[in-house]
Symmetry: none
Subunit: 209 residues, 4 copies
Amino acid sequence: MKKKAVPSMVKDQQLVKKRREQMVKGAVRLFIEKGFHRTTTREIAKESGFSIGTLYEYIGSKEDVLYLVCDAIYEEVRDQLVSQLDTEAVGIDRVKKAIAAYFRVIDHLQDEVLVMYQEAKSLPKEALMYVLQKEVEMTKMFEDIIRDYVAEYRIDLSEEEIKLMSHNILVQGHMWTFRRWAIRRLYTLEEYTKLQSEQLLSPLTTVSN
Amino acid sequence: MKKKAVPSMVKDQQLVKKRREQMVKGAVRLFIEKGFHRTTTREIAKESGFSIGTLYEYIGSKEDVLYLVCDAIYEEVRDQLVSQLDTEAVGIDRVKKAIAAYFRVIDHLQDEVLVMYQEAKSLPKEALMYVLQKEVEMTKMFEDIIRDYVAEYRIDLSEEEIKLMSHNILVQGHMWTFRRWAIRRLYTLEEYTKLQSEQLLSPLTTVSN
Amino acid sequence: MKKKAVPSMVKDQQLVKKRREQMVKGAVRLFIEKGFHRTTTREIAKESGFSIGTLYEYIGSKEDVLYLVCDAIYEEVRDQLVSQLDTEAVGIDRVKKAIAAYFRVIDHLQDEVLVMYQEAKSLPKEALMYVLQKEVEMTKMFEDIIRDYVAEYRIDLSEEEIKLMSHNILVQGHMWTFRRWAIRRLYTLEEYTKLQSEQLLSPLTTVSN
Amino acid sequence: MKKKAVPSMVKDQQLVKKRREQMVKGAVRLFIEKGFHRTTTREIAKESGFSIGTLYEYIGSKEDVLYLVCDAIYEEVRDQLVSQLDTEAVGIDRVKKAIAAYFRVIDHLQDEVLVMYQEAKSLPKEALMYVLQKEVEMTKMFEDIIRDYVAEYRIDLSEEEIKLMSHNILVQGHMWTFRRWAIRRLYTLEEYTKLQSEQLLSPLTTVSN
DNA sequence: TATGAATGAGCCTTCATTCAT
DNA sequence: CATGAATGAAGGCTCATTCAT
């Protein structure tokens, strides 16, 4: 799925990139604070440091801002995750470290991730599809890591179980943000990571009773 | 936390109850279709079968409708869950059956649950607190079930692990709705229930390798 | 061609009619003064005696106001014309009196007619078609009158000439408004009517040299 | 009445002329397509082949473009008309040929003439006066031609009748454009010219019955 | 001279809420 | 109690015009 083209009246691509970065930064702050629907385009422009007219030089509609925000957050999450993956780790340790890295990234970008989680549904259908595709790709990253491990150590785990485990990892990452009102009272990130890892990976490291 | 009082101009409590039921029914349909923010009060009134003036005889603001909707959905989920719990089951079977019952209820009310998940954040703070409290109570239901089992069978599971497991159950139930775009392609409800159960309960039924 | 339905949120048809009459009255005043495009919906609402919100209870868009205005002007012109037609007149006198009546009506409604002339082009296609249809009908009225005369007195005038004569009458009526900057300096309405009548009807009353 | 001065930041008169010609050409195309109010200055600049900044180097406001357009169209109509006038014709034939030439020019420039007819009203007062002056001059051209004929052949036609006849010629020319939705279905240009000529000139060529 | 990014006043339209009947 | 017409603040977006480069 190709990146949806957000229309811009400005030709200088360098400038477009810069302005959209400002815009995303400002919009995220506002969406975190009050949500997409309660944020006005004027507020976004102001928070981004330019006028309403200028805002519309770089987007076609308010929904485009949401799309840019979601896209940027996904990119950021994936980039940070990739840069934190320990490429030297082997065995179950590799899986554990991937999960830990992922949770760390989510924790680091918790506000952003939460925004995306709560507002992506307001995207127009096509843009939503594109964003969900990103989620699919991220799920596949974990599938691959698990599948590698399963293959190498001849673990008895079906393809379905691998896929589900991967989904669970993703969701438990998000859960750290959207359930933080309950969970952060109970655990630190390290504790959460350790407990979830053990739980998640229990099928990989135990034998049935 | 006490149920938040939604103001009504009408004295007859019987009538208030009836009208609000109509209202919730209508609103849920609309929120499922287009979300809270894109639904107008006029539409809610119409879908509920009365006029906009009448709508405001039974609520104080649009947000009250959302609150009533969330509240009703929680009640419904809890009621259905309670009625489906197999009170005769014992051992790990009791836990499994509780999970299965919960997932069944979620599946049955998937649209409603999804709406609540996506829109609750738009509630005013106080109302949100109240709704989250309901979530806490539901989590506690599962905590209790697990704790009973752990106690009886002297499983080596800490209080923190019990709480987390309970949260995971809840979230995996919701996940069946908010990730259905991916998950329903892979599993039927029965498969999903089975796989998640095994995974979730693996710490209760296996011994470390 | 059926009358285009202008959407209204208000059910009471009596009220709709009344409010739209206010609206047309106010809008005509403004369109005369500054044209359709330079008139804002707020101004229309204010001039009509109600709020902007109320305005939109009775129309779907600004263009609807223009449509209502054009429609109302046509109705008015036709009604006044019909009521002024001398049904007892016979011979060339009947034609002359019809022209005179028409010019009188145009003079009476000159501002309105001018507005319609200048702004109708801004109507959406469908509405424009409807309005042009009204113009066609009015042209036919004169065709019929001329045709009757031609038939009765066995005048040597082809169908094409009849049609063209009718168009010329219509346009010379409008000309009294859109060329008034030049023509009203030269003639009173009576003089204009007399001269144009003679000129127009010369093919009916003379023999070729 | 002197030509209204349109302000320009550019000194080189040669260049000013060239750019304004580009501009008029582009603007006419756009005005024909969507009218003056629905055309943006950006579009005019683009269609003219330069940037919005450059556009404003050669005009002071959007209305200046309309003025330049109207002025150019008038010039064009007059130039073409003058070049087509048969200076050798005599008698009634001279008048007929002038009318035919005029109608031919109008037909040739029908889109342009229509634009001018529909949009001139949006000119600021002073510019409108200037444009109307051009119309007066054109009317006088026909007055003169008719007056010559009337004088030479001692036709019984008052000065008022001459003036009105001239206005009618002008308007019937325009009518070929603004009523084309009805008239072009009925007549070819040649038929229209012939019929209107006969009708118009009937007072010059017939004797009263 | 030419460019095009920036500006912000202002436009059309929506919709939660009120209140007279 | 029920109705629905009226209200107007507020929102998304456009576009003529300016000005630094």
